[in-house]
Symmetry: C2
Amino acid sequence: MDKKQLIEDDLKYIWRPFTQMKSLEDESNKPIIIKKGKGIYLEDIDGNKYIDAVSSWWVNTLGHSNPRINKAIYKQAKKIEHVIFAGFSHKPVIKFSKKLIEMMNNNLKHVFFSDNGSTAVEVALKMAYQYQVLKGHSEKRKFIALKNSYHGDTLGAISVGGIDMYHKVYKPLLFEIRQAESPYCYRCPMGCNKETCNTECLSSVENILKEEADNIAGIIIEPLVQAAGGMIMYPPEYITKLRTLCDKYNILLIDDEVAMGFYRTGKLFAYEHAGIVPDIICAAKGITAGYMPLSVTVTTDEIFNAFYDDDKDGYKTFYHGHSYTAYPLALAVALENLKILEEMNIEEYLKPKIAKFKKELEKFKNHKNVGDVRQTGMICAVELVKDKKTKEPFSYEDGIGKKIYLEGLKLGAILRPMWNCIYFITPYIITEKEIEKLTNIAYEALNRVLPDKEQ
Amino acid sequence: MDKKQLIEDDLKYIWRPFTQMKSLEDESNKPIIIKKGKGIYLEDIDGNKYIDAVSSWWVNTLGHSNPRINKAIYKQAKKIEHVIFAGFSHKPVIKFSKKLIEMMNNNLKHVFFSDNGSTAVEVALKMAYQYQVLKGHSEKRKFIALKNSYHGDTLGAISVGGIDMYHKVYKPLLFEIRQAESPYCYRCPMGCNKETCNTECLSSVENILKEEADNIAGIIIEPLVQAAGGMIMYPPEYITKLRTLCDKYNILLIDDEVAMGFYRTGKLFAYEHAGIVPDIICAAKGITAGYMPLSVTVTTDEIFNAFYDDDKDGYKTFYHGHSYTAYPLALAVALENLKILEEMNIEEYLKPKIAKFKKELEKFKNHKNVGDVRQTGMICAVELVKDKKTKEPFSYEDGIGKKIYLEGLKLGAILRPMWNCIYFITPYIITEKEIEKLTNIAYEALNRVLPDKEQ
């Protein structure tokens, strides 16, 4: 099949995620057919190579087509690819769970498996609510969630989402939540600024709790970075203080580490930066180094024990499962991934790369359309504005992100700006030289779309 | 690690799906550690072999550790394991989508990918509702679902679920539906019987539509078999007539083929038996021959076109996606699976096996505790009752299913009765001799737990 035919068939038969299909009539929007990947590079069927600066939706950590992971999959497939996970088990899942809990080394003790970030969040929400019911608090049925939050695309996950364009239309199918302010430091909802910030925006959470903590099961957050909301970053103190609020008002802290977990922020999980432990965490994406769907929801003895009972009628059981729950293929990959990260001494390994990104981000700061430059570990973002002083944003119709994306492709990198943010979420194995190359490409793409006349 | 340690670690670190964890204190309930699989057999770390009579949650079709599929995975991993599916594509997904649509050869034309059965259903519900909104019918926000139905464990999927033990506790988090009668022929809700059935139970659907079709977006069904509800089977005429009702009252027919699809009923999809075409179908499980999570939601031009627009503000886009949407590893497997099924001439291949199951099921019919014996293609079920005349069911506390499960293990088969039903959902490659062996094991297990004194 030639390229033209492949693209034609793609558009004819496939309905693509998050995509207005009519936009693909435009020649510049045709899907790019990827033939192979190696390390940080993806190669299309014409032989063009691109730095995967988005880690293929923030999942790839050890590079594409990693030989060790490839072998681990094949080895596992030749033993057993999948076995029903009710009543049965297998070594990879036991070893992985033990290793993960030991690495966390805190009050989070029990691993529940599901298939992706959305389901990990659904598990957390169901678990939190049922926990409250089992504790005699069935009136605690609402959750607090933040503006600009994204927790997945299933209807439970959408209920706690806060991005209108994604979530608004489904409103009649969603459960009731209370929405608190987004800790969007660059555009502080309290009118404060970063330098003198005292996490004033947390008052919007506490105000809700003062009103009706008795009706609240828990609060769900994306720790340190509201990623899909536009790489909005906020300080660890927010989470530290939020933990105190949750304890004071007796609600659960659900920490959605789907995008941040497995060292994206420089630590195993982002909550570690805040020196606290959540009641429930969700993790996915990097768990398999970017190979295949798998997720975990991890919780405490306190929550686990509330379900632990003789349960003659079955109503204290946590009924949730998917056909491929904890399938051996993915667990063999996840286990190999943990081993590799350990051998790499990953926290130390990332430090010079994080520092290099910090240095290279400097070049964006003086650009007339750069409003904010921010970084949390291996996540970097550059927020573009029409006017630096007023912080006026570009509108959806301006299509700035799309234009930069197209320039990036020409220059050899997959930049995929999120709203008005150019961001970098690369595989961890990117070298310092490649960081320089990538940020130069991004700067050049930016300058082609929005020339910096002041320079 | 020895077995004792593995089991201890398993129970310490893992919260198992659909499981009251306290029940695992019982020695007979400890998880069985599976070491390898081959064809229809699973082998534990003590060397015990079991026929996988449940296809590891109804997914395995071509046998465990299938050499061709193993090679297809490894080959794909060495090219590219995963690439972001917005803006990018790859050959396996294009070839698979084209092949699937061509095999269906009807009005279902557009494939939307997600990760598992629950998400395929969430996609269908969101798509159906948003379609109604885009057509100007935002008041069409309720769905009709059937008693005893199961569509997955995320909160949208639970909303259309009808099994109290799984779903009741989450009620405050669910959206509003209308529930119609279950087409449970053996226990007909209309008091009719199979022999003279005229699908009277459909009147409960029509009554709802007469009341408020203007508020109904669609109806969702499991075609021919309500599987998790207890392998409840009903005739294709139900679906044929339901299609007519949907057209008459202008609602969408959503067909959840997650368990039935990919030849489980003897045809590619179960709706084919009814000679109709649904508006949306969901499929998963067998799509990867039992290897890894992947699902599709397939729909018509009519629905697809309602979203197809210039869409300046983004509100006509279908916003749904998962990190691993259409990941190449799974698509390479799904494509190889379709090729293998085609080479096997699968419909013809299954006919003698279906006939052999039919023959072997005869031996259960006279047992004093067998109320009903039923079969739909490669799904067979034997419903047990306390009293054949009154059809009085065993209670949850009787634990009949659990006892038969344990006897099955001793005899070398994984029978995992669903409520009061012994069932067989085996890999398609089971031989006629193995069908005889398996049904003999099941009969022996049944007789050990409930001796047939009448014999």
